[in-house]
């Protein structure tokens, strides 16, 4: 009887705990560093980047204190569910698969993908004909991998790498004819490096949405709807008062 009572009290307490939405005044945000220019460490060792600055501005607008917690990409969603932090703001594409486990804010930026080839490459546009027989480099498990495999996997060789660095090395070594990755990351690692000269081939890629999602969003636990709402409202405010544009311009230049 006593045991039963304890269990029911415990159950009631647990039920109350889950039903009650937490009121946050301190938000911990998980981030995978480095991913220049979205999140990285500056020369002084401080975290910086588009996500970081926008995140801090959002927290200031809501009136909460923010703490950034570094977490590798593989475990970033499990870490959120395990309450190691309360949100993820780390260039995460919104898509239906992730929506099953996490709650997304409104999209705060859309970054296109792009094809990069060495200067002097004969490739001038991207289609089945020009890519036929070429070798394409992608990062394993990214949306770019899925898209390149499904669209050109039959006519070209898709080489998959664990890190962008290995991929760039093989592009320099002429093992790859072309690589496909996030535009801003390619810009930071290929266009702005002195190692060799690279250029973007064809158009920026944002379609189809089934691969490239609906832009980047902040991820929350499903039950933290109130927190997501506060972030959405703050995002709308920052977009309206020009703060968002100012941060955007600092990292990506004029539109």
């Amino acid at each position: 009887m006593k045991k039963l009572l304890t269990i029911s009290i415990l159950g009631a307490a647990l039920a109350a705990g889950t039903a009650q939405a937490r009121d946050y005044d301190h938000v911990r945000i998980g981030v995978d560093v480095p991913y220049e220019p979205m999140e990285y460490r500056g020369a002084d060792g401080e975290l910086t980047g588009f996500d970081i600055e926008l995140g801090n501005a959002l927290c200031a607008e809501i009136g909460v204190t923010c703490e950034w917690i570094e977490q590798e990409w593989d475990g970033i969603i499990p870490g959120l569910l395990a309450r190691n932090y309360d949100a993820i703001m780390s260039s995460m594409s919104i898509n239906d698969e992730r929506r099953q486990t996490v709650l997304f804010s409104d999209s705060y930026i859309t970054i296109p993908g792009a094809w990069f080839a060495p200067e002097g490459s004969e490739l001038s546009e991207i289609n089945e004909e020009t890519l036929s027989g070429k070798s394409i480099g992608v990062q394993r498990g990214t949306t770019y991998d899925s898209y390149a495999t499904d669209s050109y996997g039959r006519i070209a060789t898709v080489n998959r790498y664990s890190t962008a660095d290995d991929m760039v090395l093989d592009l320099q070594a002429q093992r790859l004819d072309i690589v496909f990755l996030e535009y801003v990351v390619g810009q930071a690692t290929l266009l702005q490096s002195d190692e060799g000269d690279y250029h973007v081939v064809g158009e920026m890629v944002t379609e189809p949405a089934e691969y490239f999602g609906e832009g980047f969003g902040i991820a929350f636990r499903q039950r933290d709807e109130a927190l997501a709402k506060r972030f959405n409202e703050a995002l709308a405010t920052l977009k309206a008062d020009g703060t968002y544009d100012e941060i955007h311009e600092r990292y990506f230049g004029e539109e």
Binding site: E97, R140, G141, R160, D170, Q172, A173, Q174, R175
Partner: protein
């Protein structure tokens, strides 16, 4: 039986991972792994026989360089050797213009070179041990017949050394199969490469890796039984007479 069929049918219907396409990736992976391991073992074996004879020579200028080679390749991880051969060659200026580049450009050949050199080093040491262990009586008998060194090597030492080396060599073959799993770090889509791709694409580590582990197990069984059969045939004279 009906229960089993329905269960299997439900299992296949309820998953997004084992489709014709992903099975195709696994199949291509199996072909790549088999080619890579088989070729490196055959070439490694061909290299290892003369190297083992040289390694057991009394002349230091023959045996020492071979010792250095086996020491280096047995003393460093295969993964490092693969990295050096795959990423290292491109630091030779102008390698892209040489006749070697069409081969070195693909991930397959650097992996094949690394695996061949590695297995040749181990096999050399296995054979050398077996050659050294030849019974003195056999050698003395061969000398008494007036055999030359090379004839004795061909007719007496090597045949018995091969038999003695067989169990250890069988292990080396299995090790080589398992070591080939690292080929996927240089973009080769072998069995492990296929599993990593499917894991990353469907966020399904258990299904992807358990399935590939089962394939490796089957391959290992095939190798084990082949060597058991070979040992039964070649070592028949050593079994007690019944």
């Amino acid at each position: 039986m009906d229960v089993l069929t329905t269960w299997f049918h439900d299992l296949m219907a309820g998953n997004a991972i084992f489709t014709a396409q992903t099975i195709g990736y696994y199949w291509d992976g199996l072909v790549t792994t088999t080619q890579l391991v088989f070729l490196s073992l055959v070439i490694g074996l061909v290299l290892a026989v003369p190297l083992a004879i040289g390694r057991s020579s009394d002349r230091r200028w023959i045996s020492l360089p071979i010792y250095v080679y086996t020491y280096v390749f047995r003393g460093t991880p295969l993964l490092i050797q693969l990295y050096i051969i795959y990423y290292g060659v491109v630091f030779f200026d102008g390698i892209q213009e040489t006749f070697l580049w069409p081969m070195l450009r693909e991930a397959f050949y650097p992996a094949l070179i690394a695996f061949t050199l590695n297995t040749a080093a181990y096999t050399t040491e296995i054979f050398r041990g077996a050659i050294k262990a030849t019974a003195r009586g056999e050698i003395e008998a061969a000398r008494a017949y007036g055999m030359s060194d090379s004839l004795m090597m061909r007719r007496i030492i090597l045949p018995s050394a091969f038999r003695r080396a067989l169990p250890a060599y069988g292990n080396e073959v299995i090790f080589m199969l398992h070591a080939s799993a690292i080929a996927s770090v240089v973009t080769l889509m072998d069995l492990t490469g296929a599993a990593r791709f499917i894991y990353a694409r469907y966020y399904a580590p258990f299904e992807a890796f358990l399935f590939v582990a089962a394939i490796y197990l089957c391959l290992t069984f095939a190798i084990l039984y082949f060597f058991r059969w070979l040992e039964k045939r070649l070592l028949a004279h050593l079994r007690p007479q019944s």
